[in-house]
């Protein structure tokens, strides 16, 4: 596991200052009148074999990050390196050659499977696209994949509508595994499933990670599931990462006020604990990403807001080993200690 040997593993995915702005066109001439800053300067690494959980509320840009990482969008700015290869600026041909390394599992298994293709066709399509092996070899590989994800081989010629939600998600997972990827973006893979089925799919993803050495970016709004599957967790708010830390630390000792509020808002499935949980109830709604507030993005809802928060944007920096944070509360203490140290020395 990552926590034991952080120095030995190298980052498989390195994201630096990723920006994804979508233009807004308005007025009679449909001129560009503004932009939605869906992702506004995000930097993080994902190490080989680890799961990075990316959490946040709807509209915070977490899915956009996932898609931008695989360059399903043209990036506005920043670099994305997967396996030391710059995805953000690769030519289409070069990018196509890179595609087998990186795959995606989508949120809605109903919408992401073609209803007119059989299961075998769906799982075999990436193999056909990337010309691997003969027809017979491909068929063998499809059946092997179906075994891996726990689908009955006899169902190879059935259509997606004949399966339940959990089984459909298994088809999507098998398709993502077809080309032996190193890195998989899981975009809310369990959000559309029932509680009792969610655990089945999460366990499957964990087993596959152990046996195939996969690296996941696990995007979800379900904080309790992320706590289960992720090694490190990044919390996003309005297009920026506000906190990134190892799982145990972020859940037991959240530093950023938003992370605190988010974690305290999760209901506890035990009435005896539930009544003791101290809630931080945030007031108001998330501001619009087309017109984010000046200074810190969270300053309009933050319970411990200061004057500086409304003026200056906090920088995303390492405040303790392995813990990254963008908050003035912790920047100030750093500055004060620096100053006193400098004074003491001078």
């Amino acid at each position: 596991m990552l926590d034991d040997t952080p120095s030995k593993t190298k980052p498989l995915v390195a994201v630096d200052n990723l920006k994804m702005h979508f233009p807004i066109y308005g007025g009679l001439l449909r001129r560009r009148t503004g932009e939605v800053k869906a992702v506004d300067g995000v930097s993080f690494d994902i190490f080989e074999g680890e799961t990075l959980g990316l959490v946040g509320e709807s509209g915070c840009g977490k899915s956009t990050v996932g898609r931008a990482l695989l360059r399903l969008y043209e990036l506005t700015d920043g670099t994305v390196k997967i396996d030391d290869y710059d995805i953000a600026h690769a030519s289409p041909e070069a990018l196509r050659k890179m595609r087998p390394t990186m795959q995606m599992i989508f949120q809605d298994p109903q919408a992401s499977l073609n209803p007119r293709m059989t299961v075998a066709d769906i799982i075999g399509e990436p193999l056909r696209e990337h010309d691997t092996g003969s027809k017979l070899e491909r068929e063998d590989r499809v059946l092997e994949l179906m075994d891996q994800v726990g689908l009955n081989r006899d169902f190879a010629n059935r259509y997606p509508h004949e399966f339940s939600g959990g089984q459909r998600q298994r088809i999507g997972i098998a398709r993502a595994l077809a080309l032996n990827p190193k890195f998989i973006v899981c975009d809310e893979p369990i959000a559309a499933l029932d509680v009792s089925i969610q655990a089945q799919v999460v366990n499957l993803l964990e087993e596959l990670q152990d046996s195939l050495g996969l690296t996941y970016l696990f995007i979800s709004h379900d904080l309790s599931m992320v706590r289960h599957i992720a090694d490190r967790v990044a919390v996003m708010y309005l297009g920026r990462i506000v906190e990134l830390a190892p799982r145990e630390e972020i859940y037991s000792d959240p530093l950023h006020p938003y992370t605190k509020a988010l974690l305290s808002a999760v209901p506890e499935p035990d009435p005896s604990i539930e009544s003791k949980v101290e809630r931080v109830i945030l007031t108001g709604d998330v501001p619009s990403p087309s017109n984010p507030p000046k200074g810190c993005n969270f300053c309009t809802r933050c319970p411990s807001v200061m004057d500086v928060c409304k003026q200056i944007e906090p920088t995303f920096q390492e405040v303790r080993p392995g813990r990254y944070l963008a908050c003035h509360l912790f920047e100030d203490t750093a500055q004060i200690t620096d100053e006193s140290a400098a004074n003491g020395a001078g």
């Binding site: 706590r227 974690l263 506890e268």
Partner: protein, 335 residues
């Protein structure tokens, strides 16, 4: 909560069947429950367990055909809602029983402003004139915590955020001082921080208004926080029913037990591996002849295939479960 008070809503033996081209679907099978004044009843179940269909059958919201409420009684205010004429039912619906739907995006009418949608039930059910209805609407929006209420009456649903829209829905449901509020997954479409706001709001409103609430959800965490009593549904049946602490502390149905072990938590110890309930929920074709949970049940034995278990009293007062297996004794029931 007053103990032993007469239930405000009493549902007995409700059966709803959908007639489809590929045969009948028995979505609700002999569901019996009641709600007392001022009580919050939580209804938990997976999708397809019949929780929404049950509540919609109660007040005749299902189109017939294909739906057919075959059997049962819904006693409310001394009359059977399944037998009264459609005109009287209209007065109950929206007037004495309020309904909050899951998706605030689609349950408000996009072409009318919010003010019109709140005043409509007030003018129809309570006979208020335009000015009175407007004043009451402002009062209601303030009650559910929408700032600058008087001005926002003229706004259209798309000008509100998701959480604010759900507040508007709650305001509409509360407009005529209902005796019972049925909330069908009211926070499922919302983010956790907004969900926490809505839950706080409902807790407050309950204290102020003292109505009975039926809260449908699949999230056991939400239930643990707000419910007085919980009803667990599976395969169109009530499988367990108990006061909230009793249900979480001493679950007596294998489905409830498994469900409580499946969900991970953000607090406390973290399990290395999640417990799963193997298999899939049942397909509800045909009236149930055997226990609906038997294919996924770890305690299954021969009687489960033969006989659909009836609800029997277990554990503390007010606790019942539909299972042939006695967990306290560690073996099958004799009778």
């Amino acid at each position: 909560m007053p103990d032993g008070a007469l239930p405000v809503l009493d549902v007995r033996d409700l059966k709803t069947v959908f007639k489809t081209r590929s045969g009948e679907v028995h979505a609700v099978n002999s569901v019996t429950f009641d709600v007392k004044p001022g009580e919050l009843l939580g209804v938990v179940g997976e999708s397809g367990s019949g929780k929404s269909v049950t509540m919609m059958s109660l007040i005749g919201l299902l189109p017939s055909p294909p739906a057919d409420v075959k059997d049962g009684q819904v006693l409310f205010g001394g009359q059977d809602l399944l037998k009264i004429n459609p005109n009287d039912l209209r007065h109950v619906r929206g007037g004495e029983i309020g309904f909050v739907f899951q998706d605030p995006m689609t349950s408000l009418n996009p072409v009318f402003n919010v003010g019109f949608q709140i005043t409509e039930p007030l003018r129809i059910h309570m006979g208020l004139n335009k000015q009175q209805a407007r004043d009451r609407a402002v009062e209601l929006l303030e009650l559910v915590g929408i700032p600058d209420a008087a001005r926002r009456l003229k706004d259209f649903p798309h000008q509100f955020s998701g959480g604010m829209r759900q507040r508007v829905m709650i305001a509409i449901a509360l407009a005529c001082d209902p005796k019972v509020l049925i909330a069908d997954e009211p926070t499922t479409a919302l983010d956790v921080t907004i969900q926490a706001q809505i839950i706080e709001l409902v807790k407050e409103l309950r204290e102020k208004l003292g109505m009975a609430i039926i809260w449908i959800t699949h999230d056991l965490g939400v239930i643990a926080g707000i419910a007085d009593r919980v009803m667990v549904m599976y395969g169109g049946q009530v499988v367990e029913q108990a006061p909230v602490r009793e249900l979480f502390g001493n679950p007596q149905h294998p489905y409830t037990r498994a469900l409580l072990q499946t969900i991970p938590s953000v607090r406390g110890a973290r399990a290395e591996k999640l417990n799963v309930i193997e298999g899939q929920p049942p397909i509800l074709a045909g009236a149930p002849q055997a226990c609906p949970f038997r294919d996924r049940c770890p305690n299954r034995f021969e009687r489960c295939d033969r006989e659909n278990p009836a609800r029997r009293a277990v554990g503390a007062a007010g606790h019942d479960a539909a299972c042939h297996y006695d967990f306290t004794a560690g073996g099958p029931y004799a009778g």
